[in-house]
Amino acid sequence: MKQLFPLPHVMGFVFSLILSLVALAVVYFDLSYTAGMTILLITAIVQASLQLLLFMHIGENSDRSTLYTNIAYALFVGVVTILGTLFTMVWGYN
């Protein structure tokens, strides 16, 4: 039974809930802008790496080139979406 229990996944699930709660706390406690943003950024990065490592099995793949292509494509789309949105909606907006 012990081997069958997916301990890392359950731990990951609990951690992601905790991280979400910490992020939510920024709204409920009266924090300064920098403090709030710092907490949000840190929880976001930890959350993302948690998802990638535990649930998306990054690093368990023996096929390196597929992995890197995947990451490159994801980075491309992510960066384009975020910077592109800032570009069209904030920096370049009349």
């Binding site: 597929t66 494509y73 994801a74 491309f76 789309v77 384009v80 979406t81 592109g84 949105t85 570009f87 069209t88 909606m89 370049g92 907006y93 009349n94």
Partner: protein, 647 residues
């Protein structure tokens, strides 16, 4: 929510459709009981995980939705056929152009393309099924639940009415107080999750399950196009998922993401929508390019010209499709810098697309062309699509777009892209692969008749819209005065729309006629084609290939026919197959009800339906199902029967 708002009232057409829905939903169970078909329906279709059957169900639903969206289109064209027409009021017209757009893109084009992928891809790469057959069934039932949820909106609660793009603030609860746009966010969300899973499923299938020897650069062009399409799906759909979730929060939980005050930003919706929306265009166009490549090279009896450049241009299109989205809202307040950047990226897409057009033309050059129905569609596609593409470049110029934006010129442009691009392709693919699935061809004479009716009527319907747009007619106008002079061209367009309807009716009649009278094909290769799917029997046995083929070149089946070398050797071995499951179907029903209750903000029933969804997942987690094996004797028996050696 008051109960008298639950059913849509006050329109004779709505009452008629309510009666029709009631009659159909009574007739189906009565018919099934009378003909004792419940068991057949459950065992062979509702619980199936066979990619071919799932594909057939996708295509059937897509045809159904084609007619639903087509009726919307006919109503719109009838309403605008003459000035000051009173057939529809403004509200009804708004609902109809909204549902026409959503149904045609998300519930007709997408499932038709995904249906063809399902039927063809495993066969084309020499696999026995997709990588995750059960997930595939879930994808289908989620799509179906979403489609049905969207479709009941017009009799229960009212349809969405803010356009298929549902721009904020118009789609906010303040300006769209009916439940219509709740249907929009939830139905699209449910079917979108299904699409996302299809994306992952097909990427894994194509990367991991190809026949031995089929290197990436030896894959058929349709397989390549589907691989790239699914990569786009996986990267584009999450944006829609997030945008729809934010929309739901805004409409039903009082958040202000897309509001105009309290730090919200209404334009952010348009931005997120098109970050998904433009790649979506390529999700429905790239597989179409793949279909045309297969058909053109088959009926020109030549290998595809410029295989490598075809692949490279598709990869280029997939990257470019993510960096052009702002061209959909040039006029909504950006500075010169933003508009210039997006103008340039948009025009850049014309380059790889042009490369593909020339590749097809050079494939045709000096070929022994055979004018079958699928080939006719492919040949008609090239010039008509080019008109769509060239007007696209006109629209891509930001400064000129201030003139075209939101006029009928734009409407004409995207119909000139999507109809020859996607609709002709799926019809061509339907004619082309039909004999593979059902074992007989559709009638060629009726096929060619409907082709000519459709192609001519298409141009009669949509060409006048270019001129109307340049004359200043804006889209989504439910009526206009006679003094505008828009009357005659709109009348011509309406006549064309009737022609299109006739063309599609002939197509359906052709299916009926061919089921009854078409001669059965025993070769499995009625078109003398090139790719692996034609090397097995038609209709395809459940295990696809009795022996897994080995591939050493592009168009391996063509060369095995020419050199008379067999594709597979060795003795039969027992085949491992996935077993059927009712779980995906039950999950689809649960999702439908969860969505329906959420639309009306009935939280308690929605939570219960949500628990049923979680229950099906928990059930799956603890289920032990290792599939089953087909024995060698059974394979021999099936193969002999399919070769006609045993009755």
């Amino acid at each position: 929510m008051k109960w008298d708002e639950f059913f849509v009232t006050g329109e004779p057409m709505i009452y008629a459709s309510m009666v029709a829905i009631a009659v159909v939903s009574l007739a189906i169970p009565i018919g099934l009981t009378y003909f004792k078909k419940w068991g057949y329906l459950w065992n062979e279709w509702l619980t199936t995980v066979d990619h071919k059957r799932i594909g057939v169900m996708y295509i059937l639903s897509a045809l159904l939705m084609l007619f639903r969206g087509g009726v919307d289109a006919l109503l719109m064209r009838a309403q605008t056929a003459r000035p000051e027409n009173g057939l529809l009021d403004a509200q009804h017209y708004n609902e109809i152009f909204t549902t026409h757009g959503v149904v045609m893109i998300l519930f007709m084009a997408m499932p038709f393309v995904i249906g063809l992928m399902n039927v063809v891809i495993p066969l084309q790469i020499g696999a026995r099924d997709v990588a995750f057959p059960r997930l595939n069934a879930i994808s289908f039932w989620l799509f179906f639940a979403g489609a049905m949820l969207f479709n009941i909106s017009f009799v229960i609660g009212g349809s969405p009415d803010a356009g298929w793009t549902a721009y904020f603030p118009l789609a906010s609860p303040e300006f769209s107080p009916t439940v219509g746009n709740n249907y929009y966010s939830l139905a699209l969300q449910i079917s979108g999750i299904g699409t996302l899973m299809t994306g992952i499923n097909f990427i894994v299938t194509i990367l991991k399950m190809r026949a031995p020897g089929m290197k990436l650069m030896k894959m058929p062009m349709f397989t390549w196009s589907v691989l790239i399409t699914n990569v786009i799906i996986v990267f584009a759909f999450p944006v829609l998922t997030v945008a729809l979730a934010l929309m739901m929060f805004d409409r039903q939980f009082g958040t202000q993401f897309f509001a105009m005050q309290n730090g919200g930003m209404d334009m952010l919706w348009a931005n997120l929508f098109w970050i998904w929306g433009h790649p979506e265009v390529y999700i429905v166009i790239l597989p179409a390019f793949g279909i045309y490549s297969e058909i053109i090279s088959t009926f020109a009896r030549k290998n595809l010209y410029g295989y490598k450049s075809m692949v490279i241009s598709m990869v280029a299109i997939s990257m470019l499709s993510f960096v052009v989205w702002a061209h959909h809202f040039y006029t909504m307040g950006h500075g010169v810098m933003v508009n210039s950047v997006f103008s340039i990226t948009t025009m850049a897409i014309a380059v790889p697309t042009g490369v593909k057009i020339f590749n097809w033309l050079l494939t045709l050059r000096k070929g022994k062309i055979e004018f079958t129905t699928p080939m006719l569609y492919s040949l008609a596609f090239i010039p008509i699509f080019t008109i769509g593409g060239v007007t696209g470049v006109m629209l891509a110029m930001a400064s000129a777009d201030y003139q075209y934006h939101n006029t009928m010129f734009l409407v004409a442009h995207f119909h000139y892209v999507l109809i020859p691009g996607t609709v002709f392709a799926v019809i061509a693919g339907f004619y082309y692969w039909f004999p593979k699935v059902f074992g007989f061809r559709l009638n060629e004479r009726l096929g060619k008749l409907s082709f000519w009716v459709i192609v001519v009527s298409f141009n009669v319907t949509f060409f006048p819209l270019f001129i109307l747009g340049l004359n200043g007619m804006t889209r989504r106008m439910y009526t206009y005065s006679a003094s505008t002079g828009f009357g005659p061209l709109n009348l011509i367009s309406a006549i064309g729309a009737v022609g299109l309807a006739i063309g599609f009716i002939i197509l359906v009649y052709n299916i009926y006629w061919s089921v009854r009278y078409s001669p059965r094909d025993t070769t499995g290769d009625p078109w003398n084609a090139r790719t692996l799917e034609w090397s097995t029997h038609s209709p395809v046995p459940v295990y696809n290939f009795a022996k897994v083929p080995t591939v050493d070149s592009l168009d391996a089946f063509w060369f095995s026919k020419k050199n008379k070398t067999p594709l597979a050797e060795g003795a039969y071995e027992p085949i491992h197959m996935p077993s059927n499951s009712g779980m995906p179907f039950i999950m689809g029903i649960a999702f439908f009800f969860a969505g329906f209750f959420l639309v009306f903000s009935w939280w308690l029933p929605a939570i219960i339906a949500g628990l049923v969804i979680l229950g099906t997942m928990a059930f799956r987690t603890f289920e032990r199902d290792h599939g089953y094996h087909i024995s060698v004797e059974e394979i021999e028996r099936t193969e002999e029967a399919l070769r006609g050696e045993r009755k």
